[in-house]
Structure formats: structure tokens, C-alpha cells
């Protein structure tokens, strides 16, 4: 990124020099270096204080045996890459990684994308009132605080008088215990669909109606219209949406409010795993190491999508 930016700056300067203009021709606002630096300084300080320093601190903790209590809390020792090798050998960690993958695939990439697109596509043609009501309901799921929706879902899925059991007449089924992963996947799909719906609504609004009509006149059915007209137009939006929701879902902590990672680690996604290890188990060093691994995975996902996005353009 930085290298590209540098190149751009350089080529701009060269262009300015060639044109006989001043070397600082990129400074369109005429601020000058000092004032420009002064303007961005507060932001940089904030980024440094709240992002870079804690991140560096996490990296540092990751190579120590720092604990919440005991001798290592007072005198943490440098242990090298021990935490990382321990994590890779830890079956709980690998289980957690697998569950996170399932969670992201099931609730974000499949669940939210498909549900969001289906809603956006259907709502184009329904009466305005229906559209507003549905949109509001879907949005509510998104904007309500996690603690509230978690409580709603615990009540909804409860084995003892839960709404779902009442509807399915399966009284006594403890959904959160018997199907913990399915529960949190459905929960997160429900919770996050609004974003995909909004993004796809906007994207679909930008598909020229005349192109859809041209396809219809050629005899194209709904599937062919989606394939030949709609998808090529919204490909970039699909990628952006997938990137954002997979990162959010990957880092999402709200499943903890439903299952706390249980029963017996059965729904312990990585953020929950870290929380359990670091704050319940007190292994802050180990937790930090895993946080760092998560950060790397985030980066890989992001780079993958950004690359895909560039290629498609």
C-alpha cells in the first residue's frame, strides 16, 4: 500500500516538474508541510494511543507467560514462541478455529449474503408499505444492543417454554445445548442480514432497468437475468459486502452471550476462546498470542478480497 502511494506521489511530482510547475504541485490546498502535519497530528496521536500501542503490547504479551494472577502477573517472563507453538498443538484452539470457519461460512458468507440479497431483490417490487415494514424489522435486528437481542434469543430458544418450541411443538428441546453451532449461525444470520440487504438494495437500484428489460425481451428468465445482467453489475458490491461481513463475523463476540462457548467448547469461536482463556483461565500471554494469530487471519482475509476486487476491475 505504502509503496504504491509513494510511487504515486513521486510520479505526480515528476509530472509537475515536467510541466514546469512547482515541485509541490500535489499540495492543491496550499497548506504547506508543517500545517498539514499539524492537522493530521491529533488523529495520528489517537491511532497511536488506542491502536498501535495496544497492538504492540498484545504482541509483546504474546511472547511472555503473563497471567492474570500469581507470580507471572508480577514478573512475566519472556518465553519466545512457546505460546504460538502451544496454540497450534492445542486441540481446543484448532476446534475453535474450525468452529469460527463454520460460523463465518454459515452465517456470513451464506446466511447474510443470501438472505440479504433475497430480501433486497424481493423488496424492489412489493408495495411501499410492505417494504418499509420489512426493512424496519430487519434493521431493528441489526441496531438493537447485543445484550437485548441475546436475551430475546435465549428466551426464544429456551427449552422450558421457549417460543420456538411452542411453534414447533417440540417442548423441552434445549436448542442452545443440543444444537449450539446451528443456533448461533441462525442467530447471527438474523442479526446481520440488514447490512447486506441495505448494500444490495443500493446496488440493485443502480442496475439500469433497460438492461433488465432488454434481457426480458430476448426471452431471459429470472435466473438468466440475474446471471447476465444483475450479477455482473453488482460483483464489486458482492465482494465488498462479503469482505466486511466475514471480518465482522470472524471477530464477533455476541455468540458468547448465547452459549458462552459451550456446551463443552461446542460453540467456542475464536473471540470466545480468547476470552475464556485469557480472562477465565487467566492466561493473558497465551490469549495475546492467539489474538495476534487472529489479527494475521484478518489480514489474510482482507488481502484476499482486496486482491479479488482489483482483479475484477
Amino acid at each position: 500500500m505504502t509503496a504504491t502511494a509513494d510511487r504515486k506521489v513521486r510520479s505526480n511530482r515528476e509530472a509537475g516538474a515536467r510541466a514546469g510547475g512547482p515541485v509541490d504541485s500535489i499540495d492543491a490546498a496550499g497548506l504547506g508541510r508543517a500545517r498539514a502535519a499539524g492537522l493530521v497530528a491529533p488523529a495520528l496521536v489517537l491511532v497511536l494511543a488506542f491502536l498501535v500501542v495496544p497492538a504492540a503490547w498484545t504482541v509483546y504479551l504474546g511472547v511472555t507467560d503473563y497471567r492474570l494472577t500469581g507470580i507471572q502477573a508480577a514478573n512475566p517472563e519472556f518465553v519466545g514462541l512457546d505460546n504460538f507453538t502451544a496454540a497450534l498443538a492445542d486441540p481446543d484452539f484448532r476446534n475453535s478455529l474450525w468452529l469460527t470457519l463454520l460460523f463465518v461460512l454459515g452465517s456470513a458468507i451464506v446466511g447474510q449474503t443470501v438472505a440479504g440479497f433475497a430480501l433486497a431483490w424481493t423488496l424492489r417490487t412489493v408495495p411501499k408499505l410492505v417494504r418499509s415494514v420489512v426493512e424496519t424489522l430487519v434493521l431493528l435486528a441489526w441496531i438493537l444492543p447485543s445484550s437485548i437481542v441475546a436475551f430475546l434469543w435465549v428466551a426464544y430458544l429456551s427449552g422450558d417454554g421457549g417460543t420456538l418450541n411452542a411453534m414447533l411443538q417440540t417442548s423441552g428441546t434445549e436448542w442452545l445445548l443440543e444444537h449450539p453451532m446451528a443456533s448461533i449461525i441462525v442467530f447471527n444470520t438474523w442479526r446481520g442480514t440488514a447490512f447486506s440487504m441495505l448494500l444490495f438494495s443500493a446496488a440493485l437500484g443502480a442496475v439500469p432497468p433497460s438492461q433488465l428489460e432488454s434481457a426480458r425481451l430476448a426471452g431471459a428468465g429470472a435466473f438468466a437475468q440475474l446471471r447476465d445482467v444483475v450479477l455482473p453489475h453488482i460483483r464489486g458490491h458482492v465482494l465488498t459486502n462479503t469482505l466486511l461481513i466475514s471480518l465482522w463475523t470472524f471477530n464477533d463476540f455476541s455468540p458468547y452471550l448465547l452459549t458462552a462457548g459451550g456446551p463443552n467448547h461446542a460453540s467456542e469461536t475464536l473471540p470466545v476462546f480468547i476470552y475464556n482463556k485469557a480472562l477465565y483461565g487467566g492466561q493473558l500471554g497465551y490469549g495475546s498470542a492467539i489474538s495476534f494469530i487472529m489479527l494475521l487471519i484478518n489480514l489474510v482475509i482482507a488481502l484476499f478480497y482486496v486482491r479479488l476486487l482489483r482483479e475484477r476491475r
Binding site: 439500469p208 438492461q211 432488454s214 425481451l217 430476448a218 426471452g219 455482473p232 453489475h233
Partner: protein, 364 residues
Amino acid sequence: MASIRIDGLTKVYPGDVTAIDGLDVTVEDGSFFALLGPSGCGKTTLLRTIAGLEEASGGSISIGDRDVTRLAPGDRNVAMVFQDYALFPHMTVTDNIAYPLRIKKVGRSERAAKAAETGEGLGLSALMARRPGELSGGQQQRVALARAMACQPDVFLLDEPLSNLDARLRLEARTFLKRLQKDLGVTTVFVTHDQSEALAMADQIAVMEAGRIRQLGTPSEIFRRPANTFVANFIGSTPMNMLPGKLVGGVLQVGALEGVDAVAAGWAGREAPDGEVTVAFRPEYARVDGKGPLVFEGTVETTESLGASVLVTARTDDGQRVQVVVPEGEEPEVGAVVGVAPASGRVLVYDAEGELLSPSSSVP
């Protein structure tokens, strides 16, 4: 190839907005047919209803022998060229042209051959591998036409075919479209709000207002003998002169002029009812030399150059404005008193409802 027959077609949008109001019209096989009217007159809705993009609320549409009123757009065997051409931006010119064939499950090689053949006919051979974004407006239009032609439809529908081209290209495209339509011989309906396009290209023009056809005729009929004051006002590059008058016992009175027997003679035989009328004539069909049965004395207010001719605006003593187009160099001075004289046979008289009174042939 087929004619289009439309019977009692009605299109009502939700909220009781009537876009087409019990319309009957037949488009002859192979003709180039223009739907002309101001915006909101229902011409585009009519075109889209023929295409099947809008569902008819009542009445029927037949193409050839088939009643297509309830058929899906893809089953009507019509092709439409949209105002924005609606080319698929991610497909090459070849793929765009071949798209209808692909939907009809024609094989790849046959599709490519057909696209190449159609493209060649429209001078697109060198552009077949490009994408629409790399083409000029005129080229895009030809690709859209090629796509419409490739599946050999019974009917072509063109929505404002020239409006996205710049002025110079528009004239070229006009000639090109007219020749293409004659070469292909496919029944073609096009929508335009620009009367000069309709007059130049069409074999038949339907002038529409508020969901109805106000006049159907050849360009020269529409231009020379507008059937009502709406069409008279709408057609013509300079506005038609419209003067209030009276018909008393078959004798016409216009303003200060009374008893204009020679002009009125045309209606005497038709027993035109007495009453208020509107006397109309085109500025192109009048002179300023004061010779003729009907002469309006007036003072020249302004003269405007139209290039090869000059538009002279005069005001009569009783305050009526009269305009005349005279050849360049023959215009009177501003302030001069002239006698504006419409050519005999070119004066139109409309009754109080705005309908044409003059019989088409018996005017002297």
C-alpha cells in the same frame, strides 16, 4: 414481418392514472410508424405495452395473426432498442449482438457467425471484440440495432432512437435508420417527442395527447392539414398562426375582416354551423405582399433570421400576432405596414372544439 393491430387498448397505472385511453390503431406490415407527442402523452407506455414490458389493462394487441396481449415479452418476437441502448457493459460487441440467440439456445459457433454477419451489415466488423464502454454513441446505437436484428423479430420498437446522439450525428442516424428500415422491411414503431424526426423518418405518424391518438396520417397530411388545434400547435418548427374568427351563414369573419367569401366558399357547401372558429395558417404558407382573398394588415414588430429564410412577426390593428416566413433578403423593415396573405388552399378553419372544418379537397 407482420402488421400490428391494437384494439381498445387501455393502460391504467395504480392510482387511477390513465396512460392509454381506449386506443385503436393498425400499423401496416413493413411500415415505419412514429408515435409523436409531448412528454406524458402515453407514447412510451404504448410502445412498452406493445413490447410486453407493461401489461395492458384492457383491449388487445395482435402482431400478425397472433394475439400477444397476454404473452411475456420474450414470446412476442419483438425487439426493442432502448433510449440508452441498454447494452451489457461486461460483454463484447459480439456477445451483446448474440445475446438473444444465446437465450434461445443457439449453438456457440452459429451465434458467432450470425453476430459477425449482422455486425458486418452495420459496419461494426472492426469493433466486434470491444466492449460498449469503448464505443462512441453512434456505434453503440448500431450495436443495439444489430442485437435487435440478430434474432429476426417480427417488429422493431425504437424508444427515442436519436435522443442520445449529438446534433450532427442525429441527422446522419436519421438517414441511416430510414434506409435500414426500408432495406429490412420490418414493421417498425418508434417513439419521439421531436416532430422533425417523425416527419423525416416515418411513413405514418400518430400524434398522441393524453393517452389518445389525435391524428393519424402521413407526414405531409399531418403537416399540411392538422386535424385539430392540438396537432396544429404541436407540429411545425415555427408556430402556426391561430386567429379567432366567426362563421356566419357560411361566411367567415376574422377580426376586422368581414365577409371573406372567397375563402369561406369552401365551407359553404358543408353547411358548417355558425359560431366561433379558429382560423389557422402556417407562417411558411403566407406572403407579405398583400395579394389574396384573405389579407391581414399589420405592422412589422420583429424579424428573426432562420438561416435561408426570415421569420417576420407583425401585429394587426386589433392586436393579433401574425407570423410569416419570407425568403432571406425579402424581409420588410421593422415598423413597415404589410399585408400578410396566406396562400389560398392553405387556410385551415377549426370549430369551437378545435376540430378541423375545412374539407380536404374543396378548398380553392
